[in-house]
């Protein structure tokens, strides 16, 4: 599903990050760990198409995405950010639907039911708790049925109970929609729960 080869990224014309080759199949979960500043989030942003000026190959479904436009990549990717960002003027419903075209709107009831956010749809982001925001962020990433689901520290602001819930939710959803799930985290609670993991140095 997703494969990375010879990936390097240089920023500020000085610091070069080198990433090991790795791949992740459908319905598989890959955990990427590493100390702060080793380029975890940068890797996720490269995979998510937010950064384009990298060297090396990133393939999705055996297709090289290097040369493709950001927009096309994004249709195949769902990103869950560490700090959930929302459009403040839109309701939770519209904050989720903003990620997809009209033909996908029909999936909203199912998702909101599954993620337990059905009662929040008419609220505004500022009225949500941290855990609720995280779940809305997950709904927004999932509603486009991405081939690859990318999660950046999805549990950093959650307690143990919620961490388990979110983690199983992510894996469950990835399985239902046959997505590859890549989690970037330094959370030991996740390390314990997952077996395949890459450590960046």
């Amino acid at each position: 599903m997703l494969a990375v080869r010879n990936l390097t990224y240089t920023y500020d014309n000085a610091v070069t990050l080198r990433y090991p080759d790795f791949s992740c199949a459908r319905e598989e979960t890959l955990l990427i760990t590493g100390r702060s500043g080793c380029g975890k989030t940068t890797l996720l942003h490269i995979l998510g198409g937010l950064i384009n000026n990298y060297k090396g190959e990133v393939c999705i479904d055996d297709l090289l995405i290097s040369g493709q436009s950001t927009q096309l990549q994004n249709r195949k990717m769902g990103i869950i950010f560490q700090h959930s960002h929302f459009i403040k003027g839109l309701t939770v419903r519209d904050n989720i639907l903003v990620a997809v075209k009209r033909d996908k709107y029909k999936f909203l009831p199912v998702f909101s039911e599954d993620l337990g956010i059905a009662h929040l749809l008419n609220k505004f982001p500022s009225q949500l708790s941290q855990g609720e925001k995280q779940r809305v962020g997950i709904a927004r990433a999932l509603i486009g049925h991405p081939m690859v689901l990318l999660a950046d520290e999805p549990t950093s602001s959650l307690d143990d109970e919620n961490t388990d819930a979110v983690l199983s939710l992510l894996r469950e959803q990835a399985t239902i929609y046959h997505s590859a799930l890549i989690i970037v985290s330094h959370d030991d609670r996740i390390k314990k729960a997952l077996n395949s993991h890459i450590e960046l140095t």
Binding site: G48, L50, F86, K88, L90, D94, L97, V98
Partner: protein, 397 residues
Amino acid sequence: MIIKLIFANLRYKWLSTLLSWILLLFGVAIISLLWTLQQQLEHKFDNELKNIDLVVGAKGSPLQLVLSAVYHVDAPTGNINEIEAARLTHNPMIEWSIPLAYGDNYKGYSIVGTTLKYIINENGRLANGRIFQEPMEAVIGSNVKASEGLEIGSTFLGTHGQDEHGHQHKGLPYKVVGILKPAGTMADNLILTDIATVRLIHEHHDIDDKDEDEGKQVETEITALLIKFRSPMGMMTFPRTINQTTNMQAAVPTLEINRLMGLIGIGIDTLQYVALAIMMMAGLSVFISLLNRLKERKYELALLRSLGYSRLQLFLIVISEAMLLSFAGFLSGVAVSRLGLILLNYQSNTNFKFYISVISKGEIILLGITLLIGLVASLIPALTIYWLNISKILSDE
């Protein structure tokens, strides 16, 4: 969803949206109102000037003479001797002349004693009834009929002077014998009768108040004379001759009105600059509120980029916000300006009514200016979208 985004942003910062909108509204309303007033005043004045080259009346202010004899919005300067006036009209340079006797009103509408020629010159056509033939018979303009509800056969009493609360000429009622069609000229707002009638009223008036107007030979006087020359040559010498050799004065309406418009123009220009300054402030307010929001907006914009919205789409969203605001400001501004005109019409003296159009040519230009202000104000904030470092913004707290 893009439209939803535009409205969501405007609604989220509703206070600064409201401020920008109100500033735009007032700028547009003031400019539009001023333009309409100026245009229609000029049009109205010019319309009446087409046919009248010279006004002869009693000595006094030439502007007053023109305003009273041509537009019936001022008191007459006095009376002139009819025989003396008639002597002038024998001049071969004169194509025609119309005598006027006025100074009374009915509920603010001037009562003018004149000849059939005046009605023809003012494009008056009878809607029904006939022209005045006997003393005390009157033909009324369309606006007089509409607002006072006079019909053929109705009678009414005139009031002395320009003010509707003046001394009433009791005992001599006018009788309506004809009603004119709307002509778009002064005739719409006048009550027309023959000169003999006006004279009859004032003979009666003199018997009424013997202490006033003593020694005046009322029966041989008129108030003013409207003159049209055969060629512009007449205007060169004729007015001077009258002013120097008689105790009458000749005033050229075109000159007097140009002088008046020049004076009004200074005031209108100043107000226009004020209105333009208000609109500039509106533009600045849009600019500052967009720029202010950009810091917190950049997360939203970066997020949208990460969700697959293109730079152009986001650029258009920001521009559209400002344009939408400008357009709303323009529409409501024009609406307020129209409301102002309706109020003015309602309040103003009956002799001037403003025509209320849906939109004028000047306002289309104004729309352009308003949209341009919106565009310029939003351009810089919108362009910053092209320099957003999405990855950096989204990984920042």
